[in-house]
């Protein structure tokens, strides 16, 4: 079963420039992959993605980024919402990000945990799947 999550703060423009900082970058011409390793931080607009290593796969002809596979402990944040998972796949073209592996999502002071979180960045919606557990802060009165 899945829980619909309003990822409100996520109106996100995926055509903004992407900034990537890392310790090392290896571009392999055979496989056409660019591998960033060593506390990688990707920023695009207000979106921040931190990971141990990120593999960027280019489309064969255009040389555009097809998807970015982050692994080694991923922290993702965009404005008020933040999420943590073991790995993530982000496709800038479609604006879809899938976090998987012990996902914990915090929105303000609500927390949501599950196995897999699919976020659609362009319209700001997300669904959390697999063993969803949620903690609501009931008001403090």
């Amino acid at each position: 079963q899945g829980a619909q999550v309003a990822f409100g703060g996520l109106k996100h423009d995926s055509s903004l420039p992407v900034e990537i900082a890392a310790d090392q970058l290896k571009i392999d011409q055979n496989t056409g992959l660019a591998t960033f390793t060593g506390n990688v931080l990707i920023g695009q607009g207000t979106l921040r993605l931190g990971a141990g290593s990120v593999v960027v796969e280019y489309t064969t002809q255009g040389g555009d980024v097809q998807n970015m596979r982050a692994s080694g402990g991923v922290t993702f944040s965009n404005g008020a919402e933040a999420a943590e998972a073991q790995s993530a796949v982000y496709a800038p073209g479609s604006g879809q990000m899938v976090l998987s592996g012990e996902v914990v999502l915090t929105q303000g002071n609500n927390a949501l945990a599950g196995e897999r979180l699919v976020i659609n960045l362009s319209d700001g919606t997300g669904t959390m799947e697999g063993r969803v557990r949620t903690i609501f802060q009931t008001g403090n009165n």
């Binding site: 420039p17 900034e19 990537i20 900082a21 890392a22 090392q24 392999d28 011409q29 555009d64």
Partner: protein
């Protein structure tokens, strides 16, 4: 000369003397009075210090070309090259240009203001500001690059800036090595910052 009674014969007799003299005068102007012909002005001598050239054994516009072990053609050219005083196998060159054409058709052009080519270690060091242009549209600038002449192996010592189609990158160090039989690996190390603007398609 027999005396002639009529003026016409006298005129003819006189002209037989005056006309040849006139012709002789005209002819001599060609050689005697003409302006002096200074032969030295036509061939300007180069004011190069011949002694310095001989002592220094400087080669001008040398070029070296060969094929590396993985089949990419490499050619190195310079404006001047002179053997290094200390190390016999090293040649110091100025205004160095190297071009590597890989099997996969990618052309890498390197140019730098000075460099040393060591043929025994088959290694060329380009320094004094190096610009690398690849046919895939990337332009990489750094201070010093060591490239091997026998295989495709290229490494920079210091920080490197690279700009390409839709991407800008700066890193502490760059290395290009060969991976697999025809592929290449470009490794940027010591901190990488990259700004990539997705082409809006």
């Amino acid at each position: 000369m027999s005396a002639y009674d009529n003026p016409y014969s006298r005129f003819v007799a006189w002209s037989k003397i005056v006309l040849p003299l006139l012709a002789l005068g005209l002819l001599s102007t060609m050689f005697l009075i003409s302006r002096g012909f200074d032969a030295s002005g036509v061939m300007p001598f180069a004011e190069v210090d011949v002694k310095e050239l001989a002592r220094e054994q400087r080669i001008s516009a040398p070029n070296y070309s060969g094929v590396t072990s993985d089949g990419s053609a490499i050619s190195v050219a310079a404006s001047t090259a002179r053997p290094d005083q200390t190390d016999r196998d090293t040649v110091n060159a100025t205004d160095l240009r190297a071009e590597v054409e890989t099997l996969s058709g990618m052309v890498i052009e390197l140019s730098s203001s000075s460099g040393q080519i060591n043929t025994r270690q088959s290694r060329a060091v380009l320094d004094g500001g190096v610009t690398v242009m690849t046919s895939s549209g990337y332009r990489i600038t750094t201070d010093k690059i060591t490239t091997s002449l026998s295989e495709t192996k290229l490494a920079t010592e210091g920080p490197v800036e690279a700009t390409g189609p839709g991407a800008k990158l700066s890193a502490g160090r760059m290395e290009l090595t060969q991976s697999g039989e025809a592929g290449y690996q470009l490794i940027f190390q010591n901190g990488v910052q990259m700004v990539y603007t997705p082409q809006v398609n």
